[in-house]
């Protein structure tokens, strides 16, 4: 958005230890634990992988590359989490990367056999960024359990592209690649469903939002930042001051007015 490619590359390198090429598109891979995220990761990247830790954290970080239609992609595997409201180091890593690493696409992998619980994470991520593609994985497991997932309805409901896969049998991977490619090239436009809160919360958001908008200046989704501030999420304010050049005290003070 407002960040140049060089700035994004610098942030990725210095804050997240990720070296990307100039024309490479960055895909973040998110999902609950045990949804086959690593299977999707391996299926897409094969052996072109690099593993290590997130800078300063004892959390594994895997990156891999792949090429589709002559477009190079860098896939970053985020830790498996149930939430990104950042209470564990893993959640913080996942949230900070999606917020400040500014991936071109965040691919959220869901377990088709317990979709309801998994959608929590997808909705949380859609509050941060509209650039989300959903992958409903473990479709083979779901079939065994006689669970049918209406992908088209889910897509309509969420407002972002949804692809069904069974990554361990390579089922649906071609479509996934094609959707990621089209999405990253702006051929698929997401229009994620916004989550509305209770009237009290919405009224509070409305009061603070203009001030946050001025401060954040489209570096982050202002509505999401407002919601986090209302939540009293101190850790997030610290992350903002670490990754963005804003004064956190000023942010906090203005929010409290």
């Amino acid at each position: 958005m407002v960040f140049s490619t060089e700035t994004q590359q610098r942030v990725l390198r210095e804050h997240f230890g990720i070296a990307s090429a100039a024309n490479q598109l960055i895909i973040a891979l998110a999902g609950n634990p045990n949804v086959g995220k690593s299977t999707v990761f391996n299926a897409l990247t094969g052996l072109r992988q690099h593993t290590g830790n997130w800078p300063g954290k004892t959390v594994d970080n895997a990156q891999g590359t792949f090429t589709y239609q002559e477009q190079s992609f860098l896939l970053v595997d985020l830790p498996g989490t149930y939430s990104i409201l950042a209470h564990t180091v893993e959640e913080q890593v996942a949230r900070d990367f999606i917020c400040f690493g500014r991936p071109d696409v965040t691919l959220v992998v869901l377990d088709a056999t317990c979709l309801e619980r998994n959608l929590n994470l997808a909705l949380q991520i859609m509050e941060i960024t509209p650039n989300v593609v959903v992958c409903v994985n473990l479709m083979d497991e779901a079939r065994k359990k006689n669970i049918r997932v209406n992908i088209k309805a889910l897509e309509k409901e969420l407002g972002v592209p949804v692809v069904a896969t069974a990554a361990r049998n390579s089922e649906g991977l071609d479509e996934l690649l094609s959707v990621l490619y089209q999405f990253a090239n702006g051929k698929l436009k997401p229009c994620p469903k916004r989550i509305d809160y209770s009237p009290e919360v919405e009224a509070a958001v409305e009061t603070i939002l203009p001030k946050i908008q001025r401060l954040i200046d489209h570096k982050l989704d202002p509505r999401w930042v407002t919601l986090r501030l209302l939540d009293g999420d101190q850790g997030f304010i610290e992350s903002i001051s670490l990754h963005l050049e804003l004064n956190p005290l000023q942010t906090h003070k203005e929010a409290a007015v």
Binding site: Y82, S83, L85, H87, T113, E116, R117
Partner: protein, 83 residues
């Protein structure tokens, strides 16, 4: 909600019994985690089994099974139906 419903602690449910969540009287980290697991007011919860010592207890929530400590489950208030 059913007028015959009474509010009890989730921990007092016997294996096989069902209930709806009324209130989660837990704060901080664990509250967030429980909400993230899909256990919110109104959610149907079934007690699947209790471990021999009665702690922890397994519950089925939205097609997945989660285990809760007895102490924590006792701070989750639920409705049960008498009929």
């Amino acid at each position: 909600m059913n007028s015959k419903s009474e509010v009890i602690a989730l921990s007092s449910l016997a294996a096989g019994e069902c209930c709806w969540v009324a209130a989660i009287e837990i704060h901080g980290l664990l509250r967030r985690r429980i909400l993230d697991m899909g256990m919110v007011p109104g959610t149907t919860v079934e007690c699947i089994r209790r471990s021999p010592s009665g702690d922890p207890i397994a519950y089925k929530v939205r097609d997945s099974i989660i285990a809760l400590r007895h102490d924590d489950a006792s701070n989750i208030k639920v409705f049960t139906s008498n009929n």
